[in-house]
């Protein structure tokens, strides 16, 4: 490697390779792809939240110009097309399995949410398909809707699924209730708290799209789709829905414009265009309108929680009791059942030493869009609950909120730390991130800033959140025992070409995370190949052997570790070849960043020497090792990873309008080893923006009839540049102890730590109004109600 070239390995803020195509308009997103002979699909969706379908009259629609075919649920049922499967089975307290009603790709007999798919029109142009869809006559018998969880659980509530009596999906718990009750009985103080975690619409900027492309000559199916995990789609759709063997099904997730979880799931439209393409014998493209996305993309969050924290006289936590209702929406989306259980309740210890925790979660069906994982998936809900509760409790027992946290932190030497809710944290230092954040945020000088703001008639507040989360999912056997229906390893293939360039095949998928650069940095660091010569291939089941995809901040921790293991194998084989070429014994060959050396000598070979020898094996130990230099590794993580840190928000409220302005935000996160600091900073800033969005701006609101009132960006407030203030990002590193890179993952921490920091700041700003809590989002209307109401509690 050229010594004068800038360092491209681990720790370098290498500028991204993928930027060149994105900046020049040469990205290839699904809607950019056009297949020869392509037709277009338009989905007819239910305008009602809950209705029986009495009849569907297609006659007029079928006669409209350009229409090739129209299909309904009856057509799919006639061909034994399966329902959209759920990938995680939760069990009830009594050991019985959760209610798992069928989720048809096109409605059969009933529609269960506004936006539920009723029919698909396939026509020559999109406009023709839409025109024809308007000519379909559906007779509905409108049924009362259970739009909220309270409505769904009430006596006499409308029954959404026959398979789920009382609209209950499951009633689950974790922890020992008897032990908890005993701890509470001894408590000096019990602090009670209730809160809602508001429903959100992920709204990645690229709407979902899918192209089904059946090749009549080969009988092969290809699906192009906006997915975070093409192999998972191939498995779920091929095996459970369309009954197509993997060998005949290729799924390609090309450039994808953001996912945040919403593009993990197998959606009906993917199955529909794939299946229908074989019917019309032409490719079919479907692209969602944004308004359509609001009622067809999985939503996020939507918990209602009651909690109690038991404390001793010294302010130490004795126990935590939590009861949560979690909204599943109308159908079970792919991961939905695990989000409020194993990704939520297992994080309720947070960064604190808690002797005992008991949590009950009831998952409820409602006549709303299905709810599933969205950036953070369960951990923002847990962190929000805990960090609000800590502030509320601190106020109630008269302890400083920072001191109260410190008193209860897992000690620096307390790792590995076994929580009472299954997880064991491997490493961390919550004191270090706290101290660094307090310093950067100017915590000590805040009172002066508050007074200065007050002199201008503004209310300033500062809020803190100390958090840990669990990601890098996941150990297959562990999650399997908890109900997962898939393994969660990752796959990496390192292919060293004869002349020394490298292709990496990874099961991870990049939809904004910069893998084409960061994964190449791993190769540059270990194998010494310049990044320009390292090609990262992802997103195509025809090229990449297997993979579970990108979500849960797993790409580096699991995908990167698979690459490391594969590179270990490359280096091991390379040493044997090098030993042969240099006439040394293998034990005497060392390797560093592209160079094999006989220890203590000047005898060296480059990786290119070795790869050429491997593919032109003339001077080669061919009796002992095969030619070629390509290795694959499957890496199954030993544990989750546990990034954590401290976020501090400073806000300023205009009391005349109630508007909350962000003044400053400080994030100090421990994400383990940092591969590319620039990328980490970008991930945290993006996550914080979404967290601020949840805290101040965003809310998916249904009316009592199940109509989504915030059904477009005209009413669903998306964060804009002028809603946000600069975010200071820093990291403090404690290495992950159980993966070869020591990385913990950084994709979600921004959205996890920030909402409670912001709300804690808002409550702090309103301290003169005796406010105990403000529900998210803290809109101007809500804040003004509090201020206008004078000294009274926020009533929620």
């Amino acid at each position: 490697m050229n010594v004068a070239a800038p360092f491209e390995g681990i720790g370098a803020s290498v500028r991204r390779k993928e930027d060149l195509r994105f900046l020049s308009g040469r990205g290839q997103y699904t809607d950019d792809i056009n297949r020869p002979g392509q037709t277009h699909a338009y989905m007819l969706r239910s305008p009602h939240a809950h209705a029986a379908i009495r009849s569907i009259d297609l006659a007029a629609a079928r006669a409209m110009p350009g229409v090739l075919a129209i299909f309904t649920g009856a057509d799919l049922a006639a061909e034994n097309i399966g329902g959209i499967p759920c990938g995680w089975q939760i069990h009830n307290k009594d050991g019985s399995p959760m209610a798992e009603p069928m989720h048809p790709a096109l409605a059969i007999g009933k529609v269960r949410h506004v936006g539920d798919q009723v029919a698909v029109v396939i026509a020559e142009t999109r406009a023709q398909a839409r025109d024809a869809a308007e000519a379909i006559v559906v007779e509905y018998d409108v049924l009362p809707a259970a739009a909220t969880m309270a409505q769904a659980l009430a006596a006499g509530a409308p029954q959404i699924h026959d398979a789920a009596p009382g609209n209950l999906c499951y009633d689950w718990h974790i922890g020992d209730r008897a032990v908890l009750d005993a701890a509470f009985a001894k408590a000096h103080k019990v602090v009670a708290f209730e809160t809602t975690n508001n429903r959100l619409v992920p709204n990645a900027m690229e709407p979902r799209a899918a192209i089904g492309d059946f090749d009549p000559q080969s009988g092969d199916y290809t699906l192009y789709t906006t997915s975070q995990n093409p192999h998972v789609i191939r498995l779920l759709m091929g095996a459970f829905v369309l009954h197509i063997p993997e060998s005949k099904l290729r799924v390609v997730a090309p450039d994808v414009g953001g996912g945040f979880g919403s593009k993990i799931y197998h959606y009906a439209e993917e199955a529909i265009v794939t299946w229908a393409s074989a019917k019309v014998k032409r490719p079919i493209k479907w692209t969602a309108d944004r308004t359509e996305s609001f009622v067809s993309d999985a939503h996020g969050r939507d918990h209602v929680t009651k909690a109690e924290l038991a404390l001793d006289a010294g302010g130490k936590i004795l126990g935590l009791k939590v009861h949560t209702h979690a909204n599943m929406g109308a159908y079970l989306s792919t991961f939905a059942p695990c989000v409020p259980t194993y990704l939520y309740a297992t994080l309720l210890s947070g960064v604190y030493s808690m002797p005992v925790i008991y949590a009950e979660v009831k998952a409820v069906f409602t006549n709303t869009v299905p709810v599933d994982a969205y950036r953070g998936a369960g951990r923002p809900e847990a962190t929000y609950l805990l960090e609000r509760l800590m502030d509320v409790a601190a106020a109630e027992i008269g302890l400083d909120k920072v001191e109260f946290r410190r008193r209860n932190f897992v000690p620096v030497d307390g790792f590995p730390y076994q929580t009472p809710v299954a997880l064991q944290y491997d490493s961390g230092n919550y004191f270090a991130t706290l101290d660094a954040a307090l310093e950067t945020a100017g915590w000590a000088g805040f009172e002066a800033r508050r007074k200065a703001a007050a002199a201008q008639g503004k209310l300033r507040g500062i809020g803190i959140s100390t958090y840990v989360e669990a990601c890098g999912i996941a150990p297959s056997a562990v999650v399997g025992s908890l109900g997962a229906r898939a393994g969660l390893y990752e796959v990496g293939t390192i292919r060293v070409h004869p002349t020394g360039s490298v292709t990496v095949l990874t099961g991870a998928h990049s939809h904004g995370q910069g893998h084409e650069t960061t994964f190449a940095q791993l190769v540059a660091d270990r194998l010494g190949v310049p990044i320009a010569n390292v090609d990262i291939v992802h997103g195509d089941t025809a090229k990449v052997p297997f993979g579970m995809g990108t979500y849960g901040s797993r790409s580096l921790a699991v995908g990167g570790s698979a690459m490391v293991k594969a590179m270990d194998k490359i280096v091991a084989k390379g040493k044997r070849i090098a030993a042969h070429l240099m006439e040394a014994s293998v034990e005497d060959v060392e390797f560093e960043r592209g160079t094999f050396r006989v220890t203590g000598t000047d005898k060296t070979k480059t990786l290119t020497d070795i790869s050429l020898a491997a593919y032109v094996p003339h001077n080669y130990p061919i009796e002992e090792i095969e030619p070629g230099l390509e290795e694959t590794a499957f890496y199954d993580p030993k544990n989750f990873t546990y990034p954590g840190g401290c976020h501090i928000a400073e806000v300023e409220i205009d009391p005349e309008t109630g508007k909350v302005a962000m003044v400053n935000f400080t994030a100090v996160d421990d994400v383990g080893r940092v591969i590319n600091p620039m990328i980490v900073e970008g991930q945290v800033q993006g996550g914080v923006a979404q967290g601020i969005g949840q805290a101040l701006l965003e809310s998916a609101i249904y009316d009592a009839h199940g109509q989504l009132i915030s059904g477009s960006m005209m009413d669903y407030t998306m964060p804009r540049a002028d809603d946000l203030a600069p975010v200071s990002v820093a990291t403090h590193t404690t290495l992950c102890t159980h993966n070869p890179l020591g990385v913990k993952g950084c994709g979600e921490v921004g959205a996890i730590g920030s909402p409670p920091a912001v709300i804690n700041a808002v409550v702090d700003a309103l301290r003169d109004y005796g406010v105990r809590h403000v529900e998210m989002p803290a809109t101007p209307q809500k804040i003004w109600n509090i201020i206008n109401g004078g000294r009274r509690m926020a009533a929620e």
Partner: protein, 167 residues
């Protein structure tokens, strides 16, 4: 069916369209210039922003027929013929102002117009407010704002080359 003639990135095209064909549909579907994206249906997200007659506008909110005779620049037309990036493109890369890339073409086109309309430069607040019509879900905007400020220095001659982002 009406015919429109327009110059896109320096090349003249005459295309048959329906009156209801949007400019973005003409660009993406007829001319196969797929760099301009559609992200919403309420004219809010800005992913579709291009330049028409030198001004940025949302190509999803103008008919192709309304652009008859106009000169259009899309993201594909920004770099020089020899591949040299426009300072705004270079700044976006240097400052990590894009992640998934979907909002990026519209963001870059908007940013260039914003700088052009403020010959004396912009404050951070002016940049943030000027981006009201461009949504990004990935970056949190912070690096976008920095990139635009850095690019404006080069575009307006206050610097001869782009200031490097701090490591």
């Amino acid at each position: 069916m009406p015919q429109v003639t327009l110059t896109v990135n320096g090349t003249k095209h005459t295309v048959e369209v329906e009156a209801r064909t949007l400019l973005v549909e003409l660009l993406r579907e007829k001319l196969r210039l797929t760099g301009t994206h559609v992200g919403c249906d309420t004219s809010q997200c800005g992913a579709c922003v291009v330049h028409v007659g030198g001004d940025s506008l949302k190509s999803c909110t103008i008919l192709a027929v309304q652009c008859d005779g106009a000169s259009v620049t899309t993201i594909e037309g920004l770099a020089a013929a020899d591949g040299t990036l426009h300072p705004m493109q270079e700044a976006f890369r240097e400052y990590h102002a894009l992640q998934c890339g979907f909002c990026t073409p519209g963001m870059v086109m908007s940013a260039i117009d914003l700088v052009n309309k403020h010959p004396g430069g912009l404050t951070e607040q002016e940049i943030r407010e000027g981006l009201e019509g461009n949504l990004c879900r990935c970056t949190g905007y912070h690096n976008i704002v920095k990139a635009i400020a850095a690019a404006s220095d080069v575009m307006q001659g206050r610097r001869s080359e782009l200031a490097r982002a701090a490591e």
